[in-house]
Every structure is written in structure tokens, then in C-alpha cells.
Symmetry: C2
Subunit: 188 residues, 2 copies
DNA sequence: TAGCCCAGAGAACGTTCGTTCCCCTATAGT
DNA sequence: ACTATAGGGGAACGAACGTTCTCTGGGCTA
């Protein structure tokens, strides 16, 4: 196994374990045994656990947003329905068996106050999501597109967190209905 | 210092420290020095850290909801404005200098997956908030009051989490505007 | 074949943390 | 005044964790 493969296996293991149980609950030893990467190579790829954590979050950010954007684009629907498609995709996400809320919200709650690096990655993720929503809204004829984008983001965050705590994927539908309302109200 | 006073001082210290920095980031030693309670009495009051954590969350649940309910009642406004007053109170909460999001969402992200007792307290808190909102909605003439209550809860959770991550209290205003929209749309 | 280097396995180290134990003092009851 | 007891301070313990070190084997080169 070369260095690149080790990196991937480590990040795969990190994603699975950190998301499922939290960051501090997963030790280096478990990452090693799950990934099958030796300790020496692990520290060669990531000289400290914190770096692996931040890489894990960055990669998850990329992939999560890519999955969302791909789904929305694939629908091939007009701009307003693209916004609603975001919430349709959330529903499929909430339905995944290992869904446990937004990894960034969870990480922020766990380590945002102590590890500035993590707080920064979390903020960057959510800023990117807000930008994405703002981009969708920019194609619409609405009053105050900026405000609408922020409100939609609020629905995304709220439904993800709410669905995790209640273990009820129906939260996506409620967020979608609310988004629908925001869209028609903002139309001009 | 008697046992009762020690309990209060410990819970006060726990609230301050756990909320500010996270649960695992705060050790028994710091709780001891901050509260001024001796180790022996600490373990007399709470035989394990986990019990102190759960008590902290339960007390915070009580107090948080009491503060919210008191504010809403004090406004002396008609039912529909009482719902909006919830978001006015959120704004004052977000503006508090040590605001760091919903303690229950944070605790859930940190320990919800590993400590079932904590997950339970978190769910109980959010269920109680949903019940409170459902009570406010029950006084209104709306279609599907249950659904409206859930949507309002989604806005509360989303704005609290969003305000914490962006460090921007204006999230309360956006949630309020969205709630306003939900109210007028549901009116019958 | 001999020498060299890299990688893997896992022992070892130092620290931190929750929890327990020990010792000393101060006080209350007789 | 003497003893019994509870409480405070803090050392000690055992486990867990992140990180480093050591030993060993295997493949590559001269």
C-alpha cells in the first residue's frame, strides 16, 4: 500500500468513525485498525490527529456539496424548483441509515470552542452552502435575494439538526413547505 | 458549605464551563476549582461526571424554557404575536456575550452517539420546546396546527445553530420573518 | 550474496482524566 | 478534656489517549 492509498483509506475510516461517534470518541488505534494503515504511515500522512480531523471535514464539505449540486442539476427543472430540489435531496440524506445530522454542526458543538482550526472549517462549509443557495436564488426574480438565501440556509440547518435529534426524516418535508412559502412570498 | 449549596455551586460551574467549552473539554479538577467545592463533596453530590452532566442539562432545560415562557407571557400580546415574541426572545438570547448555540444540540453532537443518557435528555428538551410551541399554536385558528408547530421549532433550532456558527444574531430576525409568513399562510 | 533501507507490528512513554484513598484538622457531644 | 466523626486538601491509582521508539523482516541494489 502506497502513501496515496493510505491517505484515502485513512480519510474513509475517519469519515465513517468520526461522523458516527464523534471525534473525541474515536482513537488513533481504531482509525489504524479500521483503515488497515500502519501507525508509521498514519503519522507520515497526518502528523497529528487534528490534521486528519480537518482534512476529513474539508473532504466531507467538498463531497457533500457536490452530491447536493449534482442532484439539483440532474433534476433539470426551472430555477424555482431547483431551490425546492435542495430539500428533496435533504430528504434522501436524512433517510440514509447512518444519518446523524450535520457533521459540521456536530463538530462545532464538540470542538468549535477549543480548536480554532475546526471552527474555521465549519464556518467555511456553511459559508459555502450559503453561497450555493445564494447562487440558486440569484436566478430568481425575487426581492432581497440575499435575505432569501439566508432564510433558506436556516431551513437547511434547522431541518438537518431537527431530523437528527428527532430521528425523523419528515423534517425535510416541513422545511420544503416553508421554503415554498418563502419563494412565493418573495416573488416579484 | 453544606451539601445543598455545593450542589448549586457545582451546577453553576458546570453550566458555565460545559456550555462555554464543551463537556469533554472540562475536567473534574476545573469544576472543583471553579465551584470551590471539595472533591469529596463533589463525588458525594454526583457519584460520576455523567450524572453532573445530565443534571446540568436538565436544569438548563427547565431554566431556558422558563425564561422563554416568561418573556412571551410578559409581552401581554394576542396569541399570534406570542409566537413572534418567541423569536424576539431568541434575539436577546443570541445577543448574550457568551452565546454559543443550543447547549442541547452541542451536547448531542459531542456525546449523543456514545452516551444514551445524554441523547435522551436532549430529545426530552426538544420535545418540551415543541410542546411549548404547539401550545402557542393551539390558541390560533390555523390549519394543521401540529405541522405549524413543527415548522416553528425547525426555525428555532435553525436560527440558534445558525447564529452560533455565523456569530450573527440577525438570524433571529430572519427566523421571525419566516415565522410571520408561516402564520399568515396557515391562518383560516 | 551482502548490505541497506523502508515499512509494519506493536511496545513504550508521557500526559491527562475520572475516581479513590489517605492524612490531618476542626468541631460537637459527653 | 477526650473521643468520634465529618470534611478539606491533595496524593495516588488505573485506564485511555496521542505520539514516539524499537525491533524485525523483506525486497532492492551492487
Amino acid at each position: 500500500m502506497d502513501t496515496d492509498e493510505a491517505r484515502v483509506r485513512l480519510l474513509d475510516a475517519a469519515e465513517e468513525l468520526f461522523y458516527e461517534r464523534g471525534i473525541q470518541a474515536v482513537g488513533i488505534d481504531e482509525l489504524r485498525s479500521t483503515s488497515g494503515v500502519s501507525l508509521k504511515r498514519l503519522y507520515q500522512c497526518f502528523p497529528a490527529k487534528q490534521q486528519l480531523v480537518e482534512e476529513y471535514l474539508r473532504r466531507r464539505d467538498d463531497r457533500w456539496r457536490a452530491r447536493l449540486a449534482a442532484y439539483v442539476t440532474e433534476q433539470g427543472v426551472p430555477p424555482e424548483d431547483r431551490v425546492l430540489a435542495v430539500f428533496d435531496w435533504l430528504r434522501t440524506w436524512f433517510d440514509e441509515p447512518n444519518f446523524r445530522g450535520c457533521a459540521f454542526v456536530n463538530s462545532y458543538g464538540e470542538l468549535g470552542a477549543t480548536e480554532p482550526g475546526i471552527a474555521e472549517v465549519v464556518r467555511a462549509h456553511h459559508a459555502a452552502v450559503r453561497d450555493y443557495l445564494a447562487g440558486l436564488v440569484a436566478d430568481l426574480q425575487v426581492r432581497e435575494p440575499g435575505e432569501l438565501g439566508e432564510q433558506l440556509w436556516l431551513l437547511v440547518v434547522g431541518s438537518a439538526t431537527g431530523a437528527a435529534i428527532t430521528e425523523n426524516a419528515a423534517m425535510a418535508g416541513r422545511a420544503r413547505a416553508t421554503a415554498q412559502l418563502l419563494l412565493t412570498a418573495a416573488r416579484r
